[in-house]
């Protein structure tokens, strides 16, 4: 370059400037502003102020004041042209030189743009592939599930035709018998009762099939209602007395209700399940005894059905509750009944199990279902054996007053609030028992129950409602309630519920 004459230099400069606009600025000492020496600030997105200066704070903020030469390459301000930023130090003054690199920039941008877009598409494709893969897997699984289902279905139909076949052929056979001219009146009479039994059995089978379908289609509903325990026990005693006499079997029904008189439960379903268990016990038992023991304790109803029948082998026990499983012994099928019973009991929030069975000795089935007390007769009729702190949460003032009065009568230290906001969750010690209305104006009682359960893990929580639908019962249970009280509240029921709470506490 040093060989170039001054003329050549200035010519070259002129050419370069024509191709590449530049901006040359002198920075005012100790300020963010610069004075324009040459070039157009606007071309680079910089604004010329009224006093002919340019605010360059955005550019100089990171610069080393003593740096000479290229400082930042490929920069751009708003909609201005791209530039390389140089700093020149001349005679103790700072200059900024912005050189337009827009043309170079554009090429780089295009290359980079397509490369980035390609990478994005690639990412998207691999993500899609992942999703497709997952979808494929789900499809395969559901098709396998369907095949399994189909197999179960055809097995079901096979069993059904067998189950129905036996009573139907019995009914038809006896009807034919009755038609014969040689049949005596006595024989006819016997055939007639056989037909009745057969039809009753068929009806039961039809009911089972319908229940099965309802359970599978989620159309199954429970209707909890007030149920008298003593009546229930008496009815069963009566119902099987005849069979027991006829078969020469001992039949025994007992009830141990701990003062509970009425409970809230779907009575029809409970009867259906017990009937199924007891009929099976009678069916299999040739000699000895069959018994039903009912027990109410701690808001749970327990039923033991015991027989001295042939018992079951381990293999039979394993198949017992399997879907449409059936006892292998060629006695009338019970498979349908048991698997359905167990499912219904589960819907009720309880369990049904074979507690034990020994070959040659007999079997014991145990049913446990939640059964909130509705009416009770406290056994010692005294106030509770321990003073209890009871909190009532109810939005109705009259009911609050009533509940507090009832609780105080029972010897409790009771207090009442209208909603969750008024509950002192940090109370020390926390209450022993909380009674929570399920319908607190706009607030759902289960929200309160959940909160109380979280804050007071050891408190006995009672849900309270005039609505005894399965939905409310289930919601209260899920929210952590230990039991449920039906409005209007019966003093005996309240007293017994509190006794349960005391027993719980003592057991802890």
């Amino acid at each position: 370059m040093s060989q170039l004459s001054e003329d050549a230099k200035s010519y070259l400069l002129e050419q370069l400037l024509r191709q590449r606009p530049v901006l040359y600025l002198r920075i005012a000492k100790g300020s963010d502003h610069a004075r324009c020496v040459s070039g157009d600030p606007l071309h680079f997105g910089l604004v010329l102020a009224a006093d002919d200066t340019v605010d360059v704070a955005a550019l100089t903020i990171g610069l080393d004041p003593s740096g000479h030469g290229l400082q930042v390459s490929k920069a751009q301000i708003a909609h201005g042209a791209s530039f390389d930023l140089h700093q020149l130090l001349i005679d103790g003054e700072r200059f900024l030189l912005l050189i337009d690199v827009d043309d170079l920039q554009r090429e780089v941008q295009q290359a980079q743009q397509s490369s980035n877009e390609a990478r994005l598409r690639l990412d998207e494709m691999s993500e899609r592939e992942r999703l497709l893969h997952a979808e494929h897997k789900a499809l395969r699984e559901s098709s396998e599930e369907m095949q399994r289902h189909q197999h179960v279905q055809s097995e079901f139909v096979r069993r059904l035709s067998h189950e129905f076949g036996t009573p139907i052929s019995a009914v038809l056979g006896h009807l034919n018998l009755m038609d014969l001219p040689t049949t005596t009146a006595e024989q006819s009479q016997r055939s007639l009762s056989a037909v009745r039994r057969g039809v009753a059995h068929l009806r039961q089978l039809v009911e089972s099939v319908l229940d099965q379908a309802r359970l599978q289609n989620n159309q199954f509903e429970l209707y909890p209602g007030v149920t008298n325990l003593a009546t229930l026990a008496d009815d069963f005693r009566e119902l099987h007395l005849g069979t027991a006499l006829q078969r020469g079997l001992d039949w025994h029904v007992s009830l141990d209700a701990h003062g509970c008189v009425e409970v809230l439960i779907d009575e029809l379903r409970l009867r259906q399940i017990l009937l199924n268990l007891i009929s099976n016990a009678f069916k299999f038992t040739e000699q000895g005894k069959v018994s039903l023991s009912l027990r109410w304790h701690d808001a749970v109803l327990t039923a033991d059905v015991v027989d001295s029948g042939p018992g079951m082998s381990a293999a039979e026990q394993a198949r017992l509750f399997a879907d449409y499983g059936r006892s292998a012994r060629g006695v009338r099928g019970t498979g349908l009944g048991l698997s359905i019973s167990r499912e219904i009991v589960q819907r009720m929030g309880g369990t049904l199990r074979l507690a034990d069975s020994t070959l040659g000795r007999g079997s014991r089935f145990v049913l446990d279902v939640p059964a909130p007390i509705v009416r009770g007769q406290p056994e010692d009729n005294q106030s509770l054996n321990q003073p209890q702190q009871v909190l009532v949460v109810d939005d109705d003032e009259d009911l609050r007053l009533l509940l507090v009065a009832m609780l105080e009568q029972l010897g409790c230290a009771a207090s009442a609030v209208a909603g969750l906001a008024d509950v002192r969750l940090d109370a020390e010690p926390p209450p022993d028992v909380a009674v929570v209305d399920m319908h607190l104006g706009r607030l759902d009682g289960s929200v309160v129950l959940q909160q109380l359960r979280k804050s007071w893990p050891n408190a006995y929580l009672l849900a309270l409602s005039a609505d005894s639908s399965q939905d409310v019962l289930e919601r209260s249970r899920r929210a952590g309630a230990d039991s449920f009280l039906l409005k209007p509240l019966e003093p005996g029921a309240l007293s017994l519920a509190l006794q349960v709470a005391v027993q719980r506490r003592a057991a802890e």
Binding site: L59, I61, S73, K74, A75, I77, S115, N116, E117
Partner: protein, 165 residues
Amino acid sequence: MKTEVRKICMLGDFAVGKTSLVNRFVNSAFSERYLSTVGVKIDTKLVQLVDRQVKLVLWDLAGSDPLNGAAKSYLMGTHGIVLVADGTRRETLDSALRIHQHAESLIGARPTVLLINKADLEPQWQSTQADLQSARQWARNVWETSAMTGAHVEDAFMALAGVER
């Protein structure tokens, strides 16, 4: 009173929305079109804090190759870092972390906010709660933003504008 000037750098993988976030914050605008940034784009915005005014100078760096030789000259004098990841692309969270570590090795620790962007596409997010939780351990502040709707964009920038070193 003299207005304080603060330089903020936008860092993060390509196409995560750095330019879009600046555009939303400075111009209250958004474009669907992707125009990849080359080098650095510089924008300014005056913001009013409780007790003073601050001029934010936003350096929006290209995400494609943020670790190249130019990075250090871009980062000089930075007051704070806006680190951006794209919620719909899980790997951008990892690159955000990598870029951040690299920047710290060049200029030392700076106040940082992490933006998980494209919150409007939340159903398609690949980042999990666990990812966000671990991200919270290395960024002072984590925001779920959307340059499209503007959600939390202002909050994120203002959080950084007010922070002292």
